[in-house]
Amino acid sequence: EADIYQTPRYLVIGTGKKITLECSQTMGHDKMYWYQQDPGMELHLIHYSYGVNSTEKGDLSSESTVSRIRTEHFPLTLESARPSHTSQYLCASRAGQGNTEAFFGQGTRLTVV
């Protein structure tokens, strides 16, 4: 079982609030990712990181921001939540070397009302 954890699992929050979704992994992986997934739809990459102090935007434009101050921690922040941000957010990590598989957390289901 993969050691990657996301909190909270579910979040219902009002419009305009600032939120941070947490993601931590204990595998020492260099590469970490945030994907967004709507019901019945494919995963879309919104952010990724190669290592500490490295962050890049993914293919899907997102108003969220990320930081990577420690190897094991990759939080995602929305400064002002809107209903359009309602979605499932999935965090993943993989080892830096080779063409290895990515391991996913259980996800955070965000609902903005």
Binding site: A2, Q6, K31, Y33, G40, M41, E42, L43, L45, Y48, Y50, E56, G58, D59, Q88, L90, C91, A92, N99, T100, E101, A102, F103, F104, G105, Q106, G107, R109
Partner: protein, 111 residues
Amino acid sequence: EDQVTQSPEALRLQEGESSSLNCSYTVSGLRGLFWYRQDPGKGPEFLFTLYSAGEEKEKERLKATLTKKESFLHITAPKPEDSATYLCAVWSGGSNYKLTFGKGTLLTVNP
């Protein structure tokens, strides 16, 4: 741009009725093809990695195969607990930072 197409979108089987799921891909230099299982409301769970044409991997009732253009996930004598969405993803030489996912196949196995 890398593309992954999975078919069918949904498949309903009776318990014990074997079948196959398809994943067709277009990439610039395949470095790996990955199969995941995703249960409702949860993150994808890793199943297999395939790296080269002709490679096969097995796990319980599942067997994954790879050709130069597609991969199959064969399900032998499925059980209701095999019901899930099965996702295919590719890692290519044209994109060294991300997996490109298909939309998945929703498998339902009726008792």
